[in-house]
Structure formats: structure tokens, C-alpha cells
Symmetry: C2
Subunit: 320 residues, 2 copies
């Protein structure tokens, strides 16, 4: 893309143009250098959106929750961009995209922008592409940026780690996630939403969650509220949005928001630099026969992985 | 540690001495250079053990399953080493260690070695420390090395990715994990065990799993068997062990075992090299005021994360 066109795209994006935003995200997703150029240009316009991360096990009704949240935010005259990040393997891809279709009623509303990202990238770059896309949404002047992902493992949670407020969605009967929370596999989120709360086991689940929360200690004086919703019937959504807003007010007041963002951005820079270095290393395997030979020795159990890694780095430094 | 002592430790370890093995793993866990030296020395003795990875949501009865598997393996006159890797956050640590105590009946058997690792490491090094520890167990002449971890997220599964055979444990009512499997958040394992199979919902769960397996396609002609167990009553354990052995026979015959190990070892070398590079980068933040300044500019929204990362790498290369 010519620089003039890139600049034009940046201007349109900052002005809030949805098509420009869509195109910009595609550039980032495809790891196009023009995408990085764009983020660079619009970056000074970021930092204004309220970034919310939503995670939870599959089947909990996250898409329906998002649909209901969009409605509520629009009623409050706020704009929103949703980024659905799907780290799943390709073979079930169709089923998950099917969920997205339910959100299509908002496609014509200029205040609503919805985008899925599933490109895993070669070297775990999904989390990085996610942040870049979220920054673009932020620069486009969206009041709210909602990043959604599936699962409660660490890799999945990393994807939404860029958010200011992390929301975990559970439902009665989704026992593993409560166990994961209990076992500390997942960090304690800022807000917990129990969806499908008309289920008879709701009270049991809420009690279980309270039990888990009682084990931990609120680091900055925040006790995660548990909000019950029936997203399919728009029940509890106002309360959920209020809980998210309360958390935001809390971290702004405590100064934790600035801290959190600063820490996340620093980590992000380190992560991007590390990914770059790893790409170089991977490339060197193919280009450098001596690296290939080292790896063959490891496979033949002649040289241990640690020594091989050190030797590769030593040769790399010598070559520089 | 003096080199002579390290060599002595290596000799004892290769001879199968349990105390030497325990000490060696501590060195690796503490990232002691002597640990790396040891792995280097004993590495030619590795590659013989059958490596099995076991994962599943908390509460599924993994410890009980392991206890039953140990009994069965000992009945077959095979030795075993178990490595329990716990990626959970510190505050619930006690509860998980409590589970381990149930395994204590085997502590006096010289054919059984059990070890927990929970040290997360600063930079995601747990997966690396896990492989090093597993290599030490392998070098110590254990017929079987069983790596166990909690959870079904990608980061958790990475920990057991070094194994030849991956076993996923589920139980009736652990719905999220089946959903995670279905959504492709977790890769299809080689063997699925349904524990607590006296539960009335067992048939439903087995049907659900079959449904998920039917969606995928066996890459190398292997269809993951579903084994029903009641580990607490030693029911189904022989069948489980037979299923694991069958998978092994299959991948040996197809040549997939050699491929898998070769791929894993190559990835491991790259991962170790990357971690090293990242450590250097992190150190440079503290040492180099200009790096710190770049990060400050990112936080102030003057410089985007991608440009900052590139600039850090550029300065680093110049300095070399």
C-alpha cells in the first residue's frame, strides 16, 4: 500500500469510519507491514476506550451476552466494538462462526462494530494481533472495546489480558471452570457473570463462586461482584454493565488502571520483540545448515536441548 | 557444585538412585546451572522411557487414577516416575498438594518415584523445567514417566506436549472440558478416560465424547479409545493401561513416535533459546536507560508498541 493511501486510511479510521477500521484490522491480521504502519500512525489516538475482556467456557452464552450488552450500551448512547478471538483449531471453526450470526442484527448500526479473529499466526502471535486490532478500535473512537475469547486456560486468558476489566462468564452446570478458578488455574476475574440464571442450580453455583472468592484476597480492595443474568431475555444486563462501570471507577480512583495499562504495554513491547527474535531463530534453522545439524544431534540424543540452544545463540552472536 | 560432585550425581542418577534423581530435579527446578550440566551429561541415556502425559479438569480424580496406574504398572513389574506439574497460582497451593498425599503409600517402593513441580519460573519456564525433569527421570532408567497437569487450556496442554501419549481424564458432569474439546480449544488426545464411571450420566458423557471424536479425523489412523474407570476401586485400570500401550504400539509401527519426539525436541531447543533471549531483553530494561525511555514513550501513547519493539532490537544489534 502506498504511504499516501495508508495515511488516508488512518484519517478515515480516526474519523470513525467502519469500513476503514475493518480494512485496517485485516492488514494487522494478515501481518501486513502497512498494518503496523497504521497502528503507529493512529497510536496517539488510543487510550480512551473502555476495554473489557470477556471469557468463559464454550456454551455459556457469551454471544448472547454480548448481544444484550450491545443493546444496553446503545440505549446508553455509547458506541462499541467487539473483537471475538477464537484460538480454536480449524476443524470446528464453522460451528463457532455460526454463533456470531446471532449478532447480525447490529450489523447496520454505525455505533456497533463486530469482528472475529481466528488467525493463530505461526508463533503464538494471536495475542499480539489482538492488541493491535483493539488499539485500532480504540483509535477509531469507540467508547467501548470488548474482547471476547473462549476458554479458561492461561493462553486463552492472555488474549484478554490487555483489557482494563476482565469478566468471566459461567453458567449453572459449568463445573470445571469453577474448579479451575478454585485450583488457581485461572486468575480471579474482576466481574463474574452467572448466565442462564433461571437454572435451578444457580444458587449452588453462586455459593461455590463466593466460596472460591473468599479464599483469595482482593489485592486492591476490589471484591468481584457476581451478577446473575438471563441474556436471552435481557435480564440482569443493566446490573452487569453497572458492575463493569463500578470496577472501572474503582481502578481509576485507585490509580490501578494506569498501572495495569502501563504494565500491559511494557509486556506487550517485550512480547513483540521476543516474537521477532524467535522468528529470526526459526528462519535460521532453514538457512543455516549448522543449526540444522545441531538439532539433528539433539534428536539423536547426542546433544541435550539446553546445550543446543546455547550453542545456537553463541553462533548467532558471533555472526553479528 | 563442584564438577566432580556433579559427575558423581549423574552416575548415581543413571544407576537409578532415587535420592540422586530427587536432588537433580531440584537443581533443574531452581534453574541451577549444575542442573543443566547434569541434563547434558545424562542426556545420551534418555529416550528409553515411555512418556505419558495426563491432563483433565480439577476434581476429576487424576491423583487416584495415577495411584491406580502405579499399582497396575508395578503388578506388571515396570518402574514408574510421576511428575505432577501444577501451573496454578500460589494461594490455593495447599489444597492441591493435599491431593498428592494420597499417593504416599508408594513412597517406600524403590520402583516408584513421585515429584511435584509448581515453580512457574519468571518467564513461562515451567514447560521447559518439566522437560528437563522428565529427561532426568528417563535417564534414571524408569520404564514409564508420567507427566500430570491440571486444566485443558493450551498453556496447560503445552506442559505435557513432550509426552509420547496424551491422556485426557474426564468425569460425568465435567461438561466444560467436553465443550472445550468440541470447540477445538483443546487438541484431541490419544486416549480418553472417563473416571467415576459409576455415575448415572456416564453413558451420556461417552456419547458426547464419541460425537466430538466423530467431528475430527484421525491423522495417522488412530481413533482415541474411551476407557471407563472407577479409579478408587481399581476398576478399568488394566484397560486404560492397555489402551496406552496400544497407542504406543501404533505410533511405533507408523513411525509417528520418532517424528513426534523429533518435532518436540526441535521445538524445545527453539523455546529454550527464545527464553534466553527474552531474559536478556528483560535485563536490558533495567540496565539500559534508553530502553526504559522507549517504554515510557509507549505508556505515554507517543510511540506504538511495535515501533518500540523494533527500536529495542535495532539498538541491541548495534550494541553487539
Amino acid at each position: 500500500m502506498a504511504r499516501a493511501t495508508a495515511h488516508d486510511l488512518a484519517e478515515k479510521l480516526v474519523a470513525g469510519d467502519k469500513r476503514a477500521l475493518a480494512r485496517a484490522i485485516s492488514l494487522v491480521e494478515n501481518n501486513d507491514p502497512a498494518g503496523w504502519e497504521l497502528v503507529k500512525e493512529v497510536y496517539p489516538h488510543t487510550g480512551r476506550a473502555k476495554m473489557v475482556g470477556l471469557t468463559g467456557p464454550p456454551g455459556v452464552g457469551k454471544s448472547t451476552l454480548i448481544g444484550a450488552l450491545i443493546k444496553q450500551l446503545r440505549a446508553r448512547e455509547e458506541t462499541i466494538a467487539v473483537l471475538s478471538v477464537d484460538p480454536s483449531s480449524p476443524f470446528t471453526h464453522g460451528a463457532l462462526l455460526g454463533d456470531r450470526i446471532r449478532l447480525s442484527e447490529h450489523f447496520l448500526d454505525p455505533g456497533v462494530f463486530i469482528r472475529s479473529m481466528a488467525n493463530r499466526g505461526a508463533l503464538g502471535g494471536l495475542s499480539e494481533a489482538t492488541l493491535q486490532a483493539a488499539l485500532l478500535m480504540d483509535a477509531a473512537g469507540r467508547d467501548n472495546v470488548l474482547i471476547e475469547t473462549v476458554g479458561v486456560g492461561q493462553a486463552e486468558v492472555d488474549v484478554i489480558d490487555h483489557a482494563d476489566t476482565i469478566v468471566l462468564a459461567l453458567m449453572p452446570g459449568s463445573g470445571d471452570s469453577v474448579q479451575a478458578l478454585k485450583a488457581g488455574v485461572m486468575e480471579i476475574p474482576d466481574v463474574i457473570v452467572v448466565n442462564k440464571a433461571d437454572h435451578p442450580m444457580t444458587d449452588t453455583l453462586v455459593r461455590e463462586i463466593r466460596g472460591v472468592l473468599a479464599l483469595g484476597h482482593a489485592e486492591d480492595g476490589w471484591v468481584p461482584p457476581i451478577v446473575q443474568t438471563q441474556a436471552a431475555h435481557d435480564i440482569g444486563i443493566e446490573e452487569l454493565l453497572d458492575a463493569i462501570e463500578s470496577h472501572r471507577a474503582h481502578i481509576v480512583e485507585r490509580g490501578t488502571l494506569a498501572e495495569r495499562r502501563s504494565r500491559n504495554l511494557r509486556n506487550e513491547v517485550m512480547e513483540l520483540a521476543t516474537i521477532s527474535l524467535r522468528r529470526e531463530l526459526e528462519a535460521s534453522i532453514h538457512e543455516d545448515a549448522s543449526v540444522q545439524q545441531l538439532l539433528d544431534e539433539v534428536v539423536a540424543r547426542k546433544l541435550d536441548p539446553g546445550s543446543a540452544a546455547r550453542e545456537i545463540l553463541r553462533r548467532r552472536e558471533e555472526a553479528n
